[in-house]
């Protein structure tokens, strides 16, 4: 290891080096206040030439208005000299050669040389620090002004998680003074039920140095706990975490409105659900009623029908013709009642979606003849039903439903056509569909009522006292649609009506 010989800085030469190279101004002043020594830094600080200061009173370096005070303090210092900063809690100023006054910091020392007391002043120009301080103060004032005029409540906390600032808006809201809010005092205003959640959220955010958002209830100056939205963002100074800055706003009314709205929606949804349930129940009841009514209708109808059949068997003797006529009417009424009942049931089944297509192969001409036979009893005197069939005889369709459709259309034609009129049924078995039209020369359907033709219980005004429920065509249309077909009609009052159905083949 090499031997190190320290530089002899304690020698006069060494101290001279320190004196000359120091970056702080050094002045040595005697008891009379005369500058004995000054270093280059001090000369530069006060704007003097080298050695220019020596022999001059130190007061030339003091602003004129402060010189009397300085003389007094200088004399007092020499009475009890000690190393200390000068002018504690005072603002000190120096005066340059050109008259410029600038802020300084001065530390004093003392020594005795050849029986003479000397004071050493270490002088620093603190203009930059003062300016920086002023700038910071201006910025802080600007921030406080902004914050105090903000409609939002603003808060600041330090790295120790304690509140260091709340703005005027906050204080106006809580009705408290700043001293009550600083530190953790402001948390007294948090609703007891929300405090734990807030503290945890804030603590976690502090640990993670992350922004956070929370809603909790804060006590307003009128004592009411109100919901507020509280946001915090971490702050850093030279990359070191320095706390949080945040804002909050009163969202109580919006939150209450939202909760009310949610309650209302829930209530309405419940109401709607209950209404739907009631509707469902009503529909079920209705179906059950229809089912029950069906049974109740059918039983007495069976009795009546069987009785009349028996009367027919026994009828003999006087008034046979009248008995027969009445018997026919009774049976006809029974059949009508049965048809009404069947129509109601069919419609109910259609509306419940309980009807299916049942296809089978059948001979069209034979089928049409059966249908015509079914309506024979309705025919008026001289009415003729002509059948025309084109195309192949065999077809696959839902024969039962087609029978209902055609019996209904033909029945209507017969009912609403005069005696001695013709009714034409034309059936065409095409490649992909069957088209059947029923044409009469009856009373026709008034034009302004045609749009209601397929509506439930609709009877045109010109039907008079011709029997009908207004359900037949409704069911016809539903059956046609169920079979994926379509139905059209053309009608003119006093001329007649033609219905045309087209059904795709199975």
């Amino acid at each position: 290891m090499l031997e190190h010989k320290p530089i002899a800085l304690e020698s006069e030469a060494g101290f001279r080096v320190l004196f000359r190279c120091a970056t702080i101004g050094i002045l040595v002043v005697n008891e009379k206040g005369i500058i004995e020594l000054s270093n280059p830094c001090a000369e530069k600080l006060f704007g003097y030439e080298p050695a220019e200061l020596i022999g001059n009173p130190v007061e030339i370096l003091i602003p004129e208005n402060l010189r009397p005070h300085h003389t007094h303090h200088r004399e007092g210092y020499f009475l009890k000299p000690k190393a200390r900063p000068m002018g504690l809690r005072m603002e000190l100023y120096g005066r340059k050669k050109d008259g410029d006054v600038f802020p300084v910091e001065i530390s004093l020392g003392h020594y005795e040389l050849e029986g003479e007391k000397l004071a050493v002043a270490f002088v620093t120009d603190i203009t930059a620090q003062i300016k920086a301080k002023q700038l910071m103060a201006e910025r802080e004032a600007w921030f406080r002004n902004m914050a105090d005029n903000s409609p939002f409540m603003v808060w600041v906390s330090g790295a120790n998680m304690l509140c260091t600032y709340v703005n005027k808006t906050w204080l106006d809201y809580t009705g408290r003074v700043i001293e009550q809010e600083l530190g953790s005092g402001w948390t007294e205003g948090i609703h007891p039920d929300d405090l734990t959640h807030y503290l945890k959220t804030y603590h976690d955010a502090c640990v993670a140095r992350q922004s956070f958002f929370i809603e909790f209830r804060l006590r307003r100056k009128d004592g009411q706990y109100r919901w507020i939205e509280y946001v915090g963002k971490p702050t850093f100074s030279d990359n070191v975490f320095s706390g949080f800055i945040g804002s909050c706003s009163d969202i109580h009314d919006q939150r209450m409105m939202k909760e009310e709205l949610e309650l209302l929606v829930k209530y309405r949804t419940t109401e709607l659900y209950e209404a739907l349930e009631r509707e469902k129940e009503m529909n079920e009841l209705k179906s059950r009623f229809v089912s029950m009514a069906s049974h109740e209708f059918r039983t007495p109808l069976s009795i009546v029908l069987s009785s009349t059949t028996l009367i027919e068997q026994y009828g003999a003797g006087e008034n046979d013709e009248k008995i027969q006529k009445h018997l026919v009417r009774i049976k006809s009424s029974i059949n009508n009642l049965t048809n009404i009942l069947n129509d109601f049931l069919s419609l109910d089944r259609l509306e419940q979606g309980n009807v299916e297509i049942e296809q089978n192969a059948f001979d069209i001409p034979e089928f049409l003849n059966e249908v015509v036979e079914d309506v024979q009893f309705l025919r008026k005197k001289g009415q003729a039903i002509n059948l025309v069939q084109k195309g192949e005889n065999l077809v696959v369709l839902d024969q039962k439903k087609l029978r209902y459709i055609l019996v209904n259309l033909l029945s209507n034609s017969v009912k609403y056509s005069p005696a001695d009129s013709k009714i034409e049924v034309v059936s065409e078995n095409r490649e992909k569909s069957v088209v059947i039209s029923v044409r009469d020369h009856g009373i026709g359907i008034p034009e302004d009522e045609q749009k209601h033709l397929f509506s439930k219980f609709f009877r045109a005004k010109n039907t008079g006292n011709v029997q009908g429920t207004g359900l037949g065509l409704t069911i016809v249309k539903r059956y046609v649609e169920l079979m994926h077909g379509h139905i059209e009609f053309a009608s003119k009052t006093g001329v007649g009506t033609t219905f045309t159905i087209e059904l795709p083949k199975g």
Partner: protein
């Protein structure tokens, strides 16, 4: 002469139906409920059974089930009489082995036609 067993709880319908069938040349036996009907079927072995579906006590479905489970009666043709408008009821009845059904109110001639179809 063919024998028909009528199982029907409604007195008027039962009597009218029996009367008409007798006039039409059938030998007729009747029961006013399902239980009696099942016993009568086993005892008399009719050529055809005509049975209502909706009856108090055991209904028409139970009757046909019991008849089908008894070798003595399982082969007897069975025709339903029904006042129900429900397609499901008829479908159920046919799946249980009925040979036909008549919906009330019915023309007697239709009943005769159904009976003649099966015996």
């Amino acid at each position: 002469m063919k024998t028909v067993l009528i199982i029907e709880d409604n007195e008027e319908i039962r009597e009218n139906t029996c009367e008409f069938l007798e006039l039409s040349g059938f030998n007729v036996i009747s029961s006013q409920n399902g239980k009696e009907g099942v016993a009568a079927a086993a005892h008399t072995r009719p050529d055809v059974i005509v049975c209502d579906i909706l009856m108090p006590g055991i209904n028409g479905y139970d009757v046909i089930r019991q008849l089908k489970n008894n070798p003595l009666t399982s082969g007897i043709p069975f025709i339903y009489l029904t006042a129900s408008g429900e397609k499901n009821d008829i479908s159920t009845a046919m799946k249980m082995g009925a040979n036909g059904y008549i919906r009330k109110p019915f023309e007697m001639r239709n009943l005769i036609a159904e009976i003649r179809k099966v015996c």
